[in-house]
């Protein structure tokens, strides 16, 4: 696997992240996961509104690996899902910084929306 580490780029340079990408980084914040576990985690966290198919998921993972935001863990079988060996993915320190930066960006947006009473107010 070729990994083009984009050295010298600040976490903010990767923002804004596409929603699916941020969901994947969020899922990996829990620790090493294989593809199906990431997909299930994203679907559960978004209450089924974001469904990543195999193509979308592995396409995004490929880009994240190339950007150095995600790394590959040890290939192993998931005892819950049979004997087949699966590739695991984990967040890199850069990936964690980018996820934090994106969370801060979204948090600032939500706070701005709240100040403008777009959310957090009961409709009359």
């Amino acid at each position: 696997m070729v990994r083009k580490r984009q050295a010298g780029r600040s976490p903010e340079a990767y923002l804004p992240l596409p929603p699916a990408t941020f969901h994947i980084l969020l899922a990996l914040a829990d620790g090493e996961l294989h593809g199906y576990a990431i997909m299930k985690g994203v679907a559960a966290r978004s209450a089924g509104t974001v469904r990543l198919g195999p193509g979308t998921l592995y396409g995004a993972l490929k880009r994240l690996l190339e950007a150095g935001l995600v790394g590959e863990g040890r290939e192993r079988a998931d005892p819950e899902r049979g004997d087949e060996r699966r590739r695991y993915y984990r967040l890199t320190p850069l990936g964690l910084s980018v996820a934090r930066a994106e969370a801060h960006r979204l948090d600032a947006l939500v706070r701005a929306a709240r100040r403008k009473r777009l959310i957090g107010v009961r409709p009359a």
């Binding site: 593809g35 199906y36 198919g53 195999p54 979308t56 998921l57 490929k62 899902r81 699966r86």
Partner: protein, 197 residues
């Protein structure tokens, strides 16, 4: 035909390199999905096809652009050769036109013919300039070469309209060369970024 065999066929929509790297994982993930969904429903297959239709073209474009960036050096060498050929051809046509002018100047010349020759020479001087600009591309960028080629093409068309008996060789150099070089100079050369994800 089983669902997995259908999905294996759908995987052919992805670039070969991507398939080699992630094909097995994607099949495995699809198998997991099949175990937890009803594969006989239209909704399931609509989601599968939508996923392939959405992700495969983007990955194909990325792979194509990636190959483009790897071949940048080769393209630059080809452009340098094209620049040199342009300079040589334009110089050859200018010398030929001047020779013809000198030979024909002894007799009386039609005004339209004179104007056509002047325009033809002007077009080739611009073509020569474009060739030099391509050769010095790294220093000047592509814009001067594009402008010179556009102007050269317009002058060549004007010369052809004034003098319809223009030789095939002159037409090839006057029209074919600028058009081919303009296509090459406008060809996108940007590589994909993470933002495309």
């Amino acid at each position: 035909m089983t669902a997995e065999r259908i999905y294996r066929l759908l995987l052919r929509a992805y670039p070969p390199d991507f398939r080699a790297e992630y094909g097995r994982d994607m099949e495995l993930l699809f198998r997991d999905q099949c175990q937890e969904s009803d594969v006989r429903t239209l909704g399931f297959w609509a989601r599968v096809f939508w996923d392939v239709a959405r992700s495969a073209p983007a990955l194909r474009i990325e792979a194509w652009r990636g190959r483009g960036s790897e071949n940048t050096q080769t393209v630059e060498v080809i452009m340098k050769i094209a620049g040199m050929l342009t300079v040589l051809l334009a110089a050859f046509v200018i010398v030929g036109a001047v020779g013809e002018w000198v030979a024909g100047s002894k007799g009386a010349m039609d005004g339209r013919y004179v104007l056509a020759v002047v325009l033809g020479v002007f077009a080739n001087v611009l073509l020569l300039g474009a060739g030099v600009a391509i050769l010095l591309g790294a220093r000047w960028g592509r814009q001067p070469a594009r402008l010179a080629l556009f102007a050269s093409l317009v002058s060549a068309v004007a010369a052809r309209l004034l003098f319809p008996w223009m030789s095939i060789f002159s037409q090839l150099v006057g029209f074919g060369l600028p058009v081919a070089l303009l296509i090459a100079l406008y060809w996108p050369s940007k590589t994909s970024t993470f933002r495309a994800a």
